[in-house]
């Protein structure tokens, strides 16, 4: 398969920023292993007075997107407070690179985990990824991925298929004998999510004012729709809301996408399901 890397990924791969190891770092995070085929070592310097990351360096063993994700991550965290840095998601890293091929999303997850590990190392607490290694059964023996991590990534990244789980965690990407277990976990998580959504539905149905409806439409687009589009390097602009008519413009990879009709149909269904069954969606051409 030919490389489907954005120019930004290529830039960060061919000219990575912040390569190396900070001597006497304030925090260090190591994730991955040579057996898994990718590993990242992140070191940070923190200004104790302001709680800001003043420097970050990385060393990565991995493919083009692993190196590019690490490089982008170091650029993103410098100057941020630790809490601001911790709010960076793997989707943010991928989006900052203009998107990553679906099967390379685990590279961005590795970046997120290394960042969390480095900050927690500084703070003297255990990272979530570390906790997950201790908790729960190992589902994927090829890559040593535990159930806890699979569940977390399904939730955080709105994953919907086993293939998604493999792309984001590598679980199931070796011998494939764990795919049935992954499917069970996925069904369980999707079931929980559906139940949570159903529980909030009655509250949403109490919408009375235009302002309430507008706010909820924006919320659904931001939280439910955009993350999915951004996974495929696409997005949308909300152009207008007039009564029950919502006008949007597809951007990025979604613009001109052959599956645009399916996508916009799905967005309309989502808005009808969560906000109001009378909503109609209009899509403006770019």
């Amino acid at each position: 398969m030919a490389w489907d890397y954005t120019d930004l990924v290529k830039q960060h791969f061919f000219s990575p920023r912040n390569v190396g190891k900070i001597e006497a770092p304030d925090g260090a995070g190591q994730v991955g292993s040579i057996a898994c085929g990718d590993a990242l070592s992140l070191t940070i310097k923190v200004d104790g007075a302001t709680d800001r990351i003043t420097d970050a360096k990385f060393q990565t063993f991995g493919c083009g997107s692993a190196i590019a994700s690490s490089s982008m991550l170091t650029e993103m965290v410098k100057g941020k407070t630790l809490d601001e840095a911790l709010s960076i998601t793997n989707q943010d890293i991928a989006a900052a690179l203009g998107g990553l091929p679906a099967e390379k999303m685990h590279c961005s997850v590795m970046g997120r985990e290394a960042l969390e590990a480095a900050i927690n190392d500084y703070r003297g607490v255990k990272a979530k990824a570390e906790e997950e290694k201790d908790e729960g059964r190992i589902v994927c023996n090829c890559f040593g991925i535990a159930e806890g991590k699979i569940r977390r990534v399904i939730r955080e990244d709105n994953l919907r298929t086993v293939e998604d789980v493999t792309n984001y965690t590598k679980a199931g990407g070796g011998c494939g004998s764990c795919t049935a277990q992954i499917e069970e976990i996925l069904e369980d998580e999707l079931g929980k999510k559906a139940a949570e959504e159903a529980a909030v539905q009655p509250a949403r149905k109490r919408l009375r004012t235009n302002l309430e409806r507008i706010n909820l439409i924006q919320e659904v687009l931001d939280n439910e729709v955009r993350p999915i589009l951004q996974k495929d390097s696409g997005d949308l602009d909300l152009v207008d809301i007039d009564g029950h008519r919502v006008t949007i413009r597809m951007v990025g990879h979604c613009s001109g996408c052959r599956a645009a009709g399916l996508t916009t149909g799905w967005i309309e269904d989502k808005l009808r399901e969560i906000v109001d069954p009378n909503i109609s969606l209009e899509v403006l051409e770019e």
């Binding site: 990575p16 085929g37 060393q59 390379k104």
Partner: protein, 384 residues
Amino acid sequence: MRTVYLDNNATTQVAPEVVEAMMPFFTERYGNPSSMHDFGGSVGKVIEDAREKVAACLGAEQASEILFTSCGTESDNTAIRSALLSRKGRKRVLTTRVEHPAVLNVARQLEREGFDVTYLPVDRDGLLDLDLLREKMDAEVALVSVMAANNETGVIFPFEEIARIAHEHDALFHTDAVQAVGKIPIRLADSDIDLLALSGHKLNAPKGIGALYIRRGQRFRPFLLGGHQERGRRGGTENVPGIAALGKAAEIAAEHVCDERTRVRALRDRLEAELLKIPGTRLNGHKEQRLPGTSNVSFKNVEGEAILLMLNQEGICASSGSACTSGTLEPSHVLRAMGVPFNFAHGSVRFSLGRYNTDADVDRVLEVMPPLIARLREISPFRD
């Protein structure tokens, strides 16, 4: 920027003589060879001429032993399925862990269908233990399928000897010779090989044409059922331009074997010797028992896809058995079967040279590789 193409095990440039040989069958001579009129019927002679050339290249006894197919995969699939149908009652198949997916995936499917498949291991040089093969043979073995040469490492298997062992137990022998034809001498008439698969695009013919050798007298069951083409052994209108091209390519390949053993091998050896001077580098596959143009080298603690990306930037085409280029997340099954350590398996690069490579190509790779590897090791956390 000049392209330096060192990925000839993936595919090859179609030889200009081959292009010339196939062109009339797109334009002036486009008739269907099954037609009654002369315009189509005369094309049939071209097919028979190509069949003779392919048979000659393989040292087959008769041209009728050659069946034209669409590719190596079809040839392998057809051979294995046909062999099992003609050894009904026998439920065992012997193959190796390092076969091409065109054989391995059929073997896995056979297991699901109730066959007992034994996947023979290879040693650290990628070689088979023939004593182990002999041990595993019994009267239940219907088919032994072992590749002639490995696509990733170039390791050549003693396929003629393996065929003899198979026949000692009245089992059939099939070999996937897609990488071997045109690179090493093959003389089927003097061998016990029953079925041999080849692919046109690996020997300077276009993609979409392959052939299967079926020893005379061997029972055969068609894979594609259709018309009476290929004497009823493969339905479907013949790919006449492809067949003409394969005939020409086979003719040239027969002449080229000597060049492979001398000039191409010398180029490969020079490239390999210099690459192995880079610290933390190893050769994957037996040093001698190997195709003359293939070199699979691993660079410790760097990742293969990253190497290929940088080579690509320099206009150099090669391949890697690294996980990130394999479509799965694990490195090459061939390197894993050879027990290549992870820190080398992830950093493997296959250079495969062919007819059109020159000293300048090797010079260019040798200019680029050492700083490229140094740069990636600078980024790697495992460099120490």
